[in-house]
Symmetry: D2
Subunit: 345 residues, 4 copies
């Protein structure tokens, strides 16, 4: 069985494993106060051209989202997200368990627009009974989104503007930041993101690391006492160096970008194969997640040899299915799948 189910089915890029082995017996301080983390922080600030930013390393995405949002909001404040945003539907209510409402905007592909944000903000604060509703204070976007779509510069700039205008923080979940920025149609850099967002994270778990997410805080209001909140929410790894070491490797010699580009390229091959086969695409993703609409009889055949993720019924005859590539996807696996696919009706 070959897995296209997700971008976290393997371990880590071998350079990371090697570095972990190489540094294994070096003694260091705990909790991210070691030299490796210090170096990795500098490398990330460099690549973001954000020398004043604070950089923190956490283990996983849900933890990171909870920590960032909980650190930023007061008790009566909420966070705007796409309806299908990860914090809204796939974190078992972690944000609510930390006390905050997720205010959702309709979205088919996981993206939200500046207009939607403005309208939601106005509805909440301009009503006569505004104190009876949650006060929006942050906007959560993911890049790429849960459906593989990316934000373009103009869109992000517009979101930035509306957030400034309304006093909202803009937060980008970059669990798949690598795959987003490596997409052919991408026009954003980490530099842009650092300018437009108040806080964002660069995902390691899905882009070559064993685990790890690097939070970058550019808005000084959000910096204070952030490490307290990391600790409280369970995200302060005792052997924090493991995170520093991994991000050092990812950002040395452009490894992060090489791995991401390769995965996106393989995803484009899958996409062409689906289109060549006459399948529709649920959304037009240019990143490592593809959502073809597949006739159920063909899907049955696929699933005998290949694992993919069922996303929902499209109609009575066909299903929306997710195929992921990753830094670890083998080229021959994609080739073999596409050859098989051609044969099946």
């Amino acid at each position: 069985m070959i897995y296209f189910t997700s971008d976290y089915t393997e371990g880590a890029h071998e350079r990371i494993l090697n570095k972990l082995a190489e540094t294994n017996m070096v003694q260091s301080a705990g909790y991210g106060e070691d030299e490796y983390c210090a170096q990795a922080r500098e490398m990330i600030k460099d690549v973001c051209k954000a020398p004043e930013a604070d950089v923190h390393f956490l283990v996983g995405g849900t933890q990171t989202n909870t920590t960032v949002i909980s650190a930023a909001l007061r008790t009566h404040q909420g966070v705007i997200s796409a309806e299908c945003g990860h914090i809204s539907v796939h974190e078992t209510g972690a944000i609510e368990a930390a006390g905050h409402k997720v205010l959702t905007a309709p979205s088919r592909d996981g993206k939200i627009t500046a207009d939607q944000v403005l309208r939601m903000y106005q509805e909440h604060v301009e009503d006569d009974s505004f104190e009876h509703t949650v006060q929006p204070k942050m906007v959560y976007i993911s890049n790429s989104t849960e459906f593989g779509l990316i934000y373009h510069k103009q869109e992000l700039e517009a979101l930035h503007q509306v957030c400034r205008q309304c006093g909202l923080y803009l937060y980008m979940d970059g669990a798949r930041m690598g795959y987003a920025l490596a997409a052919e149609d991408n026009d954003l850099s980490l530099w842009d993101i650092a300018r437009y967002c108040d806080v964002f994270y660069i995902g390691g778990t899905k882009c070559g690391a064993l685990f790890g997410e690097a939070v970058v805080i550019t808005n000084p209001e959000l910096k204070q006492d952030f490490r307290y909140v990391i600790k409280q929410k369970g995200g302060m790894l005792a052997k924090g160096r493991l995170l520093g070491i991994q991000f050092m490797e990812l950002f040395r010699d452009e490894l992060y970008w090489d791995l991401s580009r390769r995965a996106d390229k393989l995803a484009m091959e899958l996409k062409e194969g689906f289109l060549a086969k006459g399948f529709k695409l649920y959304v037009d993703s240019t990143t490592n997640q593809q959502f073809p609409v597949i006739p159920n009889n063909i899907l049955d055949k696929i699933q005998e040899k290949y694992a993919c993720t069922y996303s929902g019924a499209y109609d009575s005859q066909s299903s929306i299915v997710r195929f992921c590539t990753s830094w670890a996807t083998r080229e021959d696996a994609v080739e073999q799948f596409l050859n098989d696919l051609k044969k099946w009706d």
Copy 2:
């Protein structure tokens, strides 16, 4: 200026004030452990034909909803509600601040159906990644709803059935229970409600009392330690007797029902007036809240003499407006308004 803005613009029915004065210097235990509360509890159990029920008195609605939901749910569980349900949009995120997600179902009039509940339940627990989503454990309905609609027996029974089937608690917010049960087309009794719901409350604040809501718990699973949660959530009134005294008066000689019927009758007069005038109704409410669609030029005239609540734009020319009657609405106020209305174009 005459207020039709809400059903809490005055104090309390005079019988309640008299009783408070009469008992004022009697010494009693605090926190609801007095004789008045004990008597009121018995009266409510009688009228619900629920001798095994637990009855608790709280001060207000948001507090009551937070207490009931927080007492019932574990940390990973959520409550299903209509999108426009009070807990979803008008309690400043109180449920989320207590750690729980409100899972919303689309609804124009505030009602939700057994089918909607079943579908939402299935979507949440039958998915492969079910542990990544909140687990639905309670259904919240309001009767009458935020738009004045009532549940009929068949609907409530169906909700009860689906809740049993899915292991969900059914909770009815009865802030306007009086006005619901006094509606001409109502076929529910408190007895039915006690059978079909696991927990519900009978609202005093909007139906003749200064304040106060009586929670009735019929499901034994929900009874344990409920008073702890009342205290924690700030709802345990030091002079709890004030609640007992008020509910004793409300349920003596059918006062609660007389007041509710009268308010509904006056609301029907308003409704007829709106229809006679050619106004549409946003929803067809048979209770004390009416939502006519009023041309903006006429609305301007109305608002010079009468206060009502703007609910939203209907189209570019007209608005949805809420008119409330209550136990305290004067008949001559309604009459005068209807006379004025006839004159305005």
Copy 3:
């Protein structure tokens, strides 16, 4: 049976009941946005000589404490309190349920000192692993304390200084503010309190009202969005006017002070009676709560005619008992008790 168990065994002073009756059918806006609340706010700002303060009315003490603390603290911050402080031991973990640790300082009588605060602050923030401990951000004191003691000017000023020095908010729970300020040895005014505290409340429930606590916020940092938090924590009374009306009466013609002085005077009579009888006092309270140490055989006799509150064993032969007077305590009840007490051995 005559009750000395607490200061909330009766209803309210008759002037309050009369005013509630007199205003009963006046229509007003809800949620504290009415004229009565506006007037009461002005009266309280006047008496505090704090024209820039924000004043909010809530229903009860636990609710008020939760609201103030939750509005002031970020998720990783805690509040310093005496070990026996109300928020620490008598609110069913309301502060923790709102997400914040209560950091406790040892105290026999409910008071804490500036030195204790400084030491606790230093222990928490000067440790190498400071981010692994809760960050103290607020100091909670009660005046009078749970054991009837009061703060003197010098003590409060010292607390104020240390709070300024350490960046802590100083919050005074004034559930029994009246009885504190009316004590013979008191040298504090509301004016002092408004200068020295960042936020405090003036208790109505225990000092003549049916219920109600008036929060006074003098520190601008704590003002923003406070009404949101009131609503979220269940403290925004629909008929908010009931609070405004009560506080208007309490602060008209010095009623609040007259009632408090009278209660303290009766408590001093009890105290003299206890001392004359040879009883020790657990603490030397000058306010309406007295804590005599009573031999158990005499306590048995007392409890046949008088209700008081058992506070704990003093030794194998005697108990610490609480006697409360209040605005409602009858002089003949005290006289009768003291006569009886003289007779019992």
Copy 4:
């Protein structure tokens, strides 16, 4: 500089690194639903002789404590802990942020007794105003404790009995379980612990793994929906296999016990060295953490070559200091330190 500061200053035992490398490109399901986790679960159930237990793998200690406690308690319930317990003082209020009070018992060495638990339970539930205090529902103990002490069989059995009697869950934090069970004076087995505790965890982070804690739930009441809570609290590692692989290695060929025994043995050498030098011990630990009382002038010399952790002043002349050994401590490092120590006055 040689570090004796903590037991997490290095990476992981080489067998673990090797296994991670060996399995790196195998594809597997995420979130702990892979084959490695399945095998590790079986191995742990075997070693605990608890075939009916549920075993879950989490990343770190604070996360594990929050998850276990949050899964077990209702909103009004609290957890009893030693004053110096990790959840009480070193997790930045994580338990409170999850809504629960930590009820603390005085303890010099981190241990609490069955008598203390019984007394605390009674004080909380037998008081007249019991509903105004948090309800104790769980007892948290750590083995070894934060001061290196271990529980003996009789003590644990007594705690088990009192918990059964009072309806409390008994939870053991085993961050340093290996070092506890490997102590010379230990008479507990994992089998005993599985019988006496309702839930406990076996720590990997401090005993040879890169990270990871294995939660073992033996009480069926605590099993339901546990994975939901893991996900919500941010502890569900995407590449869950990393945890399974590590615990497989730790429990293959007794590696976990060999590593722990070795560390304890080196700690005993340190202890003998301190005693030979005439130092007092703050507590008499038989495990990998030692707390000598060291004259400040000697401490200064030590700290030029060796890193250890300052725990507090003992008196004006000397300090309490923590020395840790671990699976990774080199024998020659200990030898060199002891030789140096002999020379210093």
